[in-house]
Symmetry: C2
Subunit: 343 residues, 2 copies
């Protein structure tokens, strides 16, 4: 019996469907008594309005959607709550749409925008190295959040919010150098990666140079192609290889915290200690890093600020602002216990 419609309710209550609609939608121009009576019947019948019909009719919603490519990404997950909370403050409703690895986020965005009559879209992840011209058909404001911006990347016709990957990576490695490390290995993205992985590697190389350290390509290790990219499994496998190579190093700089946790396992399992034998530095600033032993020193991405800035830019654009901005927010080095100072 899932097929009761507004018509049935109207009939039962002996009113017009317009009146039922008014009761449902808290319309001011309705008699309290009538409303109560209708609501009572609705409850008794278990009537639920059909959202498709509603969306179809409504000329616009007040909804902003968050399109997440990589919903399992812990760093992203930490941001959902912030989005929800901040969007609620300014009276937008909020919708999270997960996009799988295989799905095309542009198609999803296009469809969703129409179906839900969205006011705006925030892309979280994905869209890395292609600007798709179909985006121009989207017809509503959208913004890219936490998307690594390769300098060679195609120009986009929208605003974006991210960190400056090259610079923050430089700072991280520079910190390791200042702590006395001279042999610093790095775990980065896949060898073919031209986004985050490349940018952070560039920062690494610049920091070495600035500290007069010669770059040793053997100390840079790429995520394996046959394992999902930024995972604990991949970190474990790559670190194990690095350790077995017999190459000397005192610090290991890793492109993401999750990968670093895999490195922890490989190091500890080999009988070595952190940070006594190897210092480890991560990137992202996941809370869970506090709960590893020793707690992970890392670069914390300003997720809350990124959320706020993204919303601000998007809302401005919804309000008519036409200038697109590329905003880079500063990250923060979190000194915890996994890096040792060398004399």
């Amino acid at each position: 019996m899932g097929n009761i419609t507004i018509k049935d309710i109207a009939k039962i209550c002996n009113v017009g469907i317009g009146t039922v609609s008014r009761a449902i939608n808290d319309d001011p121009g309705i008699n309290e008594k009538t409303k109560e009576r209708i609501l009572k019947v609705i409850k008794e019948c278990g009537y639920v309005p059909n959202n498709s019909a509603r969306n179809l009719k409504l000329s616009d919603s007040n909804t902003i959607a968050l399109l997440v490519k990589g919903i399992e990404n812990q760093f992203f997950q930490g941001m959902f709550g912030y989005f929800q909370q901040e969007l609620e403050k300014i009276k937008y409703s909020f919708l999270v749409q997960a996009v799988t690895e295989e799905q095309d986020e542009i198609s999803v965005a296009l469809e969703l925008a129409k179906e839900k009559k969205l006011k705006g879209i925030i892309f979280l992840g994905g869209l890395i190295d292609h600007a798709d011209e179909r985006l121009k058909y989207i017809g509503i404001p959208y913004i890219l959040c936490t998307v690594a911006l390769n300098k060679d990347a195609p120009e986009r016709h929208c605003s974006s919010v991210s960190i400056d990957d090259e610079k923050e990576s430089f700072n991280a490695v520079n910190y390791l150098c200042k702590m006395g490390h001279k042999k610093i290995a790095m775990l980065t993205g896949r060898e073919t990666d031209y986004a985050v992985g490349r940018l952070r590697q560039e920062g690494y190389m610049r920091a070495l140079k600035a500290n007069g350290i010669e770059f040793d390509p053997r100390l840079v290790r790429f995520m394996k192609d046959d394992i999902p990219e930024y995972t604990i499994e991949n970190g474990y496998a790559v670190t194990k290889e690095l350790l077995e190579s017999g190459l000397e190093f005192t610090a290991l700089y890793i492109i993401s915290d999750v990968v670093a946790f895999g490195a922890y396992k490989a190091i500890l399992e080999s009988g070595k200690r952190i940070p006594e034998d190897y210092s480890v530095m991560g990137f992202d600033g996941l809370d869970v890093g506090n709960y590893y032993h020793p707690s992970l020193t890392t670069v914390k991405q300003p997720s809350f600020d990124m959320v706020c800035k993204s919303i601000e830019l998007l809302v401005n654009e919804i309000a008519g602002e036409e200038n697109h901005q590329k905003v880079f927010l500063p990250a923060e080095l979190l000194e915890r216990d996994s890096v040792k100072k060398l004399k």
Copy 2:
């Protein structure tokens, strides 16, 4: 210009809207040439069909929805892929809908069922201790997956798939006893919990009894009320208190792996070792437990089997089967490195 409709396309192509619809939907009864021509125009115009209109018109879909309460739950996340893959095999489309802590999963289910004309719903998490009579209005088959079934819980008018929490918990603690442990502490759910926490605690107590060990209530610790329930933070806080209490114990049995990771931190931070000073046993069987040091001995819930069985029951019900079943699947004890054999 996000407002192109099927009508516009029809006009441009000089055909009826019916023909455009046929082109979009791969309808057999359409001339190949016409179809190509229309598809070309559609692409050029960036036309995207409106799903609301489509859903409204369609008399039924072929979609099964997964309603997840607690999308951040790692154990659940591990199941998404399985659902996707298994549902695809039998040609159902698949939809994940996250339900937040505050949302009412029944309302969400009711709305979604109508909006998307669903064939069936799988509830993952939530719905623990209340059977809501509104569910009878849902009008389509649904099933409860991984929901702890308290024996006192209200009778439900649907099938369910889960493990036998009491029994598996008994096995886990019995194993610790067989390994020579006599002082076994337990970390369980909140003190007010009447679902998983209570059931697993009952298993714990029965195992102690079966092994002639006297129950010491001081060794049972509940998740703190001011911290999200099954989290690493809570595990850390509770374990820290337990350690500081000075109570003696050689093994710590923990209601969930994630909570156990928090316990790891508290133990290691206090200068003690696992398993030399304290053996630790988790519950769930998360892969990530392999990457802690030492790897976590735990009870693995048969997530893949649970997915398959849930789908099987649901599909049978969609096909007309009327008997509801409560299925309990066996869990598996994963012996890894965090439990030491005492002489």
